[in-house]
Subunit: 235 residues, 2 copies
Amino acid sequence: MIDNCANKMENEGCFMCKERHADWFCNLSPQALVEFETLGMQMTVPAGSTLFFESQTARSVYILCGGHVKLTTSSKDGKTLLVRIAKPGDVLGLSAAISGTVYEITAQAIEPVQVKSFQRQDFLHFIEHHLEGSMHATKMINKEYRDALGDATRLALSMSIAGRVARLLLEMTSGARDAKPRFTMSLTHEELATMLGTTRESITRVLSELKRKEIIAIKGASLTILRKSALELLI
Amino acid sequence: MIDNCANKMENEGCFMCKERHADWFCNLSPQALVEFETLGMQMTVPAGSTLFFESQTARSVYILCGGHVKLTTSSKDGKTLLVRIAKPGDVLGLSAAISGTVYEITAQAIEPVQVKSFQRQDFLHFIEHHLEGSMHATKMINKEYRDALGDATRLALSMSIAGRVARLLLEMTSGARDAKPRFTMSLTHEELATMLGTTRESITRVLSELKRKEIIAIKGASLTILRKSALELLI
DNA sequence: AATCGTTTGTGACGTAGATCACAGCTCTCA
DNA sequence: TGAGAGCTGTGATCTACGTCACAAACGATT
């Protein structure tokens, strides 16, 4: 699944990490952080690799340090829905670890990503013995819950296919402070379609329309957002 | 909002509660339960009352002891979505209490309900000082997250209007072990429509269809589910 | 009982998006 | 360099629902 576990990153760990900010595990108190750091294993995962699959028994928890990971879930009839695109700082697999059951989602790297991985037991042991860590965990799950609820609301109540595409494009570039953010779209229309709960043809039509209106530009795999505000209006 | 806070129930509290089962706060260890019990105030809320509104600052946490409460959330354009129907044993307002922000949903009694209400501070103080309570809280939020995610998946990927109605009817009667559960439907088609993110006419048509197929029977406000399995197939 | 407001039932029609079908592209690989 | 295999683009239906419009049923009030 992860075919280069041995490929440890040569970075300096949480203390030197540029992505650190409040609410992240990587921003615990210094002494807790030292302990926490030793529990996890820093690694790089190539694009396309799956960190874990839905309905698989949860063995690990991951903290995403760099890159984007797509989180999807499936309905009984096999259709797939994009839950969200995880960004650096997100914790993956936390819910499954806490409930002690199976992963509720599938996490797949859409580009080379850096993660810090923890054995489920180590992770739980840590949060159970650090009030600090425990509160972090609770709050993170709480945040995931709120996000999921918000997504559900938008999806169920209004969001057109164009809106879903717009949301995805904005999520892919969130963090970028560019006026006209650009990124490499490494997914086919087919993949986008299953991620957004629609069909390949609809994706093609929406993207064509966005190009026609000069809201986005596509050259090969490179996609540029020309008018972010127009995308936001579609959500 | 709650217009009879003074109306304390004359029940015997958690120790005598028939609804107690694993995973509920009301099933803590005896000594923790004694302390917990004194923090909360048992009360009865009439049908139609709102326990709390979306985007209101969270002041209280409620444990639902009896009756059903509808949990809804709204999109920016004002449309309302049914999140779920809370059942006895559910904790309401926990997420908002933990995040220390606003309620993410609106909780309205759809029949007279019994709740145990806690000041947010008391509740948080309790869970922060009882590992037992803390783990309960974390797991309950986790469960809410998983439920929300499951709902979102079904809503976004497949669920037809008939499916949403079926889900609602099954939720209204969950807990009942009757072969043909019956309950009082106190909501108009109009209300059902906004709750399910659809229109009044569609609700009318779906219910007519279900009656025609003898999956449900309606006499006045009394609704009987004749073939539960047929409803489950629609989801 | 007569009246009015609310709720429910139903037809006619419009629209977004799924489905089907097929044609032009772009890669890869021999 | 040519042949597949998978992508992308686009038209032609089909369908579930939303929207509009109006009639019938029900419940409260006088």
